[in-house]
Amino acid sequence: MSDIILAVPSKGRLEELSRAIFAEAGMAIERPGGARSYSGNLVGYNNISVQFLPASEIARELVRGSVDIGITGIDLIYETAENAIDNVVLACELGFGQADVVVAIPDAWIDVTNMRDLSDVAADFSNIHGRWLRVATKYVHLTRQFFAQHQIAQYQIVQSVGATEAAPSSGAADLIVDITSTGSTLKANGLRILSDGIILKSEATLIVSKSANWTPAQRMTIAQILDAIGIEQNEDE
């Protein structure tokens, strides 16, 4: 039985760069079945099995503890559950996959530059339109936390699965909370990020689960991986 499960993104640039990180650390990841296979191994480490999973599943499994260590975006951890971040340790940001979760409004809202403006608009909105201001997003938990920090209570979330940026023009929502790396998709859809509207700066991160119940041997294996990647560890973590 293998001791530790390491999860890496299953495709694209995230997969390439994740494997490169481990390769540089002298831990080459093999994927014997090719791109269609979901399992692999670390050369020279029989006690570590590798799973190739979509990034959002990696986040969920880390939070649940069914994956011990993995690479995924911090934004996806936050979105797994309201207190999901408490179930993991962010070991190391890896310097790729950067993207921001942001609040974006129609650029034509010339009277709105920051969250404070938005709180006024939200307070006025239901009086004028007879409904709440609608925010389209797949980042439900991050949105609720951020809006609560800015004391905005008069709004409603519209869950969106894909193409959130189209929600204002389709009429599904008035503004959006979405992830963006260059901002060009937002711009192309006539949307503008509020000046203090960056909710989270996310990037691909090596993350360790706290929910897993490790034996001392497993603990040593985790330490070995972190050490190879060059991460200093606190004894008590």
Binding site: E82, N83, A123, D124
Partner: protein, 362 residues
Amino acid sequence: MSEANENRNKLVELIKQKATLSDVPMLLPANPFFDLAGEEFGRRLLLTNGVNDVEYCLRPEFTLPIAIEFLASKKTCANIGYIGKIFRQRANGPSEFLQAGIEFLGQENRNETLEQMFDFAVSATKVYNIKPQILLGSVEIFESILEQINIAKVWLPRIRHRFGHADAMSRLLERLSDPHGASAGAGGSTGSLPWKEDELISVISDQMIAAGLSLTGSRTPQEIANRYFEKQQLNASTVPSEIIGFLQNYLNINGEANSALEQINILANDFSLDLQAPLNRLLDQIALLKNEQGLEEILFDASFSPALDYYTGIVFELKNNNETLASGGEYNRLLERLGAATQINATGCSLWIDRLEGAENE
């Protein structure tokens, strides 16, 4: 029969003396709760999806489903009681609570109805041998102050919306008193904007059309232009500091009810505000709580209100050792919000039975 059951039966008897017991389903459509109370309440719902993609929740409270059913019944008045489990998400996972209560809907005499409600709440605590503290608040005094003070109209709904959110309110008041805190200038990437209203509206309209936005479905060009000009004006003039100070002083009033109301009276006289009607109403109720209900600890907190803007008159909580055992008040805007043609008198109170049982005195 166990003592807990015996006491619950006594509660049911109390409810039946004043109301008809309703049978609200445990599984309810979730949308009405989101529509009414927004995300702050919505995050606490236990949700599930039906095969028809309708979102349902486990009953998080009774008032809303009872109000919806009342409207559908077309009755003009009804007294409706309930007892049963409610379900809410909490920081450490989902929880269930036992709640009981009454809603008086459409009753004409507001004072008598409120008196009946106090009688119900205090009688319920007597079942458990508890002599509670009562905390009173008044939405109508605060709304009457907002109607009378001299402050730019645009701020009124924004101040009202923060009543009951102490933190948000104090931040807003700080912001109103600080001219440099206002966010100046225009957003948007349009470059310099015209000063004439009709030109500005046409610039905004063009931009919205280019982005594929409906001109009527969300904020309209007129609405955006209005707030844009309003912001320019507000940046030039701030709210006078004595008005901010007055609101802060008022919201800080908190203590024994009669002396708190006396302080409000003095403050109102200094500012030439007429708060006699809502103050007298409260004084009458305080006298009844003392003389009829025998309550000794009666407190008033000017900033106390449920953070939901359909509350309208007097609101209250019964407490024991800082724990809320019952909460209620007048919410005449709820039925209107749900589609009634006008405001309809409504007074309600819910009891936290688990807490009453925990606080029971032998």
